[in-house]
Subunit: 241 residues, 3 copies
């Protein structure tokens, strides 16, 4: 196997992917789980999308990684899209895991239903530093639907606030995703309602990739907690040659 | 765990949920499976939707149940919607299991494709007392698709006729489902074609709930017969805190 | 059980269904896996849709098969539709397995997105004899998404070129599929992206059948290689009384 770099989603940091990474290593992969700038317990506020993308680009360059399978979960799709567009030569395959696939000039806010975008902005504006988190009821029922209440609460306590700018900033991409000359995979968890299924992750986001390898699994948006072994299995199937 | 009240669908009665209830009790729930007025082997004809709803409201009041997880299968979604709207204080969470989610002034007939509504009315009008059942071929292929023929026939022999008025009467709701201040879950069985998938149960019906917890499982419309253990597992996941 | 006749899809021949057939025989079925005229290692070029259909009709008549469960995979849906329309008395149930369900006057090309049809024609026109195969990258990611790379390559090496005329010829059907008086089933593999999911096999193709029995399974388009046991299980569920 080769090198897997897993990029977490909003409100997460790299440490929350440790269980998934452990199982992937058991399949023979070299696995990295960097934390995106702006996320994590000690992050500074005021980080925007370009800095967030730059931090993972720097990680790949700093560790001189090549032939990377670069995976992004949820908001991580924004990150890996930007990283690939800036340094295509280091990447062998992109894996979107219930993740956003932006076109040039789009923000995450542009890709979610209007009522969700309005809630995100309202919560950020009510904060001290334009960072925000989901409420527990939303986390419990919409994100953690396949887990139990105790695990939902324990995971919630490990989340970090997310800089709103990483949701509102529009991405710059030189090339549209469907034209990228790289392997592409999309993992879709069938119970994931973080995006309402009437618009949905798949095929709404996935088909923006042009040709791609689809992997589906049961489970919700947070299988890094509720099913790390199944998640690793899906990532393995998505990333192998 | 708390109290689970399971409301069966059309052509069923409470006794047909015995296997599911048994497995749910094994998870620690106190489980009730009342029969809706108008259903069951000895039911009188001429029952309408309001009386059907009232019979389950009376059951909750008569047994002085509170903090109830109130689940409805299929037509049972009409029933639990009406019961909750009339006595919200007794209910902790609503669970729609491949069930209808009506708005104020809608009947079940309003929620199914026009050709299905026409068949229902035609079959009722051909009866003595405006009650009707599905034909065996429809039951076998559309409802019991995941089971074998012998089990399909045995289950068919246990069905009761359904009063057409419970399908045609329009429900009265003071508040739209999306505004209800209660936990809401939706169970969707991926092989359930009782509603054609081009319109479908999920997300067509489910997203009427506003925020909800989605649980998906394999299986068709009649997993109370074909997979009672899996059904209980889904109900447990849908109903727990 | 009764007699199962499995009709392979494009680029396949009957020998590639041997593993599936073996598992089905274990369920008690008498299983036939004929090769459609125009397919197979030694096939002559220039075969059209009508000759392809005729070869399977001849197979049923030549073996004097009756009460047949007639299944078609992918392009095989074109074949079994034509065979049933020509000899309905020999067929007990039709099983479409991620297969095309044509109306009178439609070709396979009419049923796929325009960009796919253009690729098929371009590849055929670039050949010596108007036969063509998928490229390996398409096979690997779009068809063989649930398998590993070594198995994808091994299966690819066993494919045969497909006569373009069997894709472009328009079928003649006396009766529309929804009106056929025969049992009908549709097997849908949830990871099958041979048809993009925004249009998709199910319910886009399946609901053309009118009333049908739906069976769903995980897996991609080539579960004859990646999951022959699960495929046989789905065929058994689709074909039994």
């Amino acid at each position: 196997m080769a090198t897997y770099v897993l990029v977490h989603g909003a409100w997460h940091d790299g440490s929350l992917l440790a269980d998934v990474a452990g199982h992937l290593r058991g399949d023979g992969w070299d696995v990295h789980t960097p934390t995106v700038r702006g996320n994590g317990a000690d992050a500074e506020p005021g980080v925007g999308l370009e800095e967030a993308i730059g931090s993972i680009a720097d990680y790949l360059a700093g560790h001189d990684l090549s032939d990377v399978v670069l995976a992004g979960h949820s908001h991580g799709g924004m990150i890996i899209s930007g990283v690939y567009d800036r340094m295509p030569d280091r990447v062998k395959r992109l894996v979107y895991w219930n993740a956003f696939v932006p076109h040039d000039g789009e923000s995450l806010i542009d890709l979610v239903p209007a009522h969700m975008g309005a809630i995100f902005r309202k919560r950020a504006e009510a904060s001290e530093d334009m960072r925000f988190s989901p409420t527990y009821p939303v986390w419990r029922d919409v994100f953690f639907n396949d887990g139990d209440g105790a695990a939902a609460q324990a995971a919630y306590d490990r989340l970090c606030p997310q800089p709103y700018a990483t949701f509102a900033d529009k991405i710059a991409l030189k090339t549209p995703p469907a034209a990228w000359k790289v392997g592409k995979s999309y993992i879709n968890s069938l119970m994931d309602t973080a995006m309402p299924h009437s618009t949905g992750w798949h095929p709404n986001m996935s088909e923006r990739l042009g040709m791609f390898r689809l992997i589906q699994m049961m489970g919700g948006h947070e299988t890094c907690f509720t099913d790390p072994e199944g998640t690793a299995r899906a990532l393995h199937m998505a990333g192998r040659d």
